[in-house]
Symmetry: C2
Subunit: 165 residues, 2 copies
DNA sequence: ATGAGTGCAAAAAGTTTGCACCGCT
DNA sequence: AGCGGTGCAAACTTTTTGCACTCAT
C-alpha cells in the first residue's frame, strides 16, 4: 500500500517505545513487545480489531487480550509511534508514524482502500495558516474522498474481458 | 464560530431536502422538517446528541425521537446538505454543506473548539494529486490538530487576573 | 513486598434495527 | 388501503473500566 521508503529509523520501534515508557515509569512488557512487533511487522494500515485477531493465537506462548491491545495502542499513539489516519467501517485506522514521512490519503468509497500521497505544499500551507491563527499545530489528518482509479472503471474492464472470451 | 457568508442559497434547506426526498419517493414529514429547521437555525457545528437534546422538548407539539434524528441526519448527509467535518469526544461533528464555501478546521486538543479556515490552494493541490492518481475526488476532510490561541496562554492570563485582585 | 500490568467480564457510549402502531396521500 | 414514517426498546459495535490476580524488580 505504501511506496515510501523508511527514513530516520535509527532505533527499532520496540526500543523507541521502551524509552517512551521509561519516561513514565512504565515497562516494556512481553505483551507490549508482542503488540509492537506485530504492528511493525509490515507497513499496512491497521485497526484494533485486526491486531486483536492476529494475536488471538498465542505468540511466544502468550495470548494478548483485547483490553491490552487497546491500552497499548493508546500508548503507542502517545509515544508518537503510530497515529490515526482515518475512520473506516466505524473504526479508527492507524498507521506507523515513526520512520515514515508525513503523508495523506485518498479513501475509496467503493473498496475502502487507502492510497497514500505526499505533498509538502499542504503542510507548508497549514503551517502558515496556523501561524496566522496563533494555533500551535501538532499535526493534521487529511482524507480525500472519492472513487479510486481501479473502482472507477470496472464496467469497461469487464466488458473487455467478455469480448475476449 | 463561522465568519463565512452564505452563498448560493437560492432555496431554503427544507425545500432542498424535500426535493431530495422526492427523488427517492419519500416525504418531508413534520419530524424531518423540525430537524432540518433546528439544524439550520444557526451555523454552528453540531453532533447528533446536541440535536436530540434540543428537540427533547416538543416543537410544534411534537417531540422527535433519537432514532428519527439519526435516520434524518443520515439522509441529510446523503442529500449533501450537511457533512461530517471531524470527530470530537468520540462523536461525529457535522456542519452545513449547503450554501457555504468549502473550508477546513483547526481542532484544539484542550478546549475541543473548531476553528474554520479557508484556503483554495489546498483544494487545488488535491485536485491536481487526484488527477495524477486517477482518483475521482468527491471531497475532503482536513483536520489540523494542536492548541488554539486562547488555550495556548491560559497561565499568563490567570496570573494577570490574580495580580489584579 | 510493591507497584505496574494483565485478563476477564461488565459497563459505557454511540448508533442501528425490529416491530407494532401511526398518518399522509 | 397502502406504504412510508415514527417511537420505543432491544440489539450491536467499538472502546473503556473495575477488579482480582500476576509478574518483575
Amino acid at each position: 500500500m505504501s511506496d515510501f521508503a523508511p527514513q530516520n529509523v535509527a532505533v527499532a520501534p520496540e526500543e523507541k517505545f521502551r524509552e517512551f515508557l521509561a519516561t513514565r515509569g512504565k515497562r516494556l512488557t512481553q505483551e507490549r513487545e508482542i503488540i509492537v512487533r506485530e504492528i511493525f511487522s509490515d507497513h499496512e494500515h491497521f485497526d484494533v480489531d485486526e491486531i486483536v485477531a492476529r494475536l488471538d493465537k498465542p505468540q511466544d506462548g502468550r495470548r494478548v487480550s483485547r483490553a491490552t491491545v487497546y491500552r497499548t495502542i493508546a500508548q503507542l499513539e502517545e509515544a508518537g509511534l503510530i497515529r490515526k489516519v482515518a475512520r473506516a467501517n466505524d473504526r479508527e485506522v492507524y498507521e506507523h508514524d515513526y520512520g515514515y514521512p508525513q503523508h495523506d490519503h485518498f479513501i475509496c468509497a467503493k473498496c475502502n482502500s487507502l492510497t497514500e500521497f505526499r505533498n509538502e505544499e499542504i503542510s507548508a500551507i497549514l503551517e502558515r495558516v496556523a501561524l496566522e491563527l496563533g494555533f500551535r499545530m501538532s499535526g493534521h489528518r487529511l482524507e480525500a474522498h472519492g472513487i479510486c482509479a481501479t473502482c472507477a472503471k470496472p464496467p469497461a474492464r469487464r466488458h473487455h474481458k467478455l469480448d475476449m472470451i
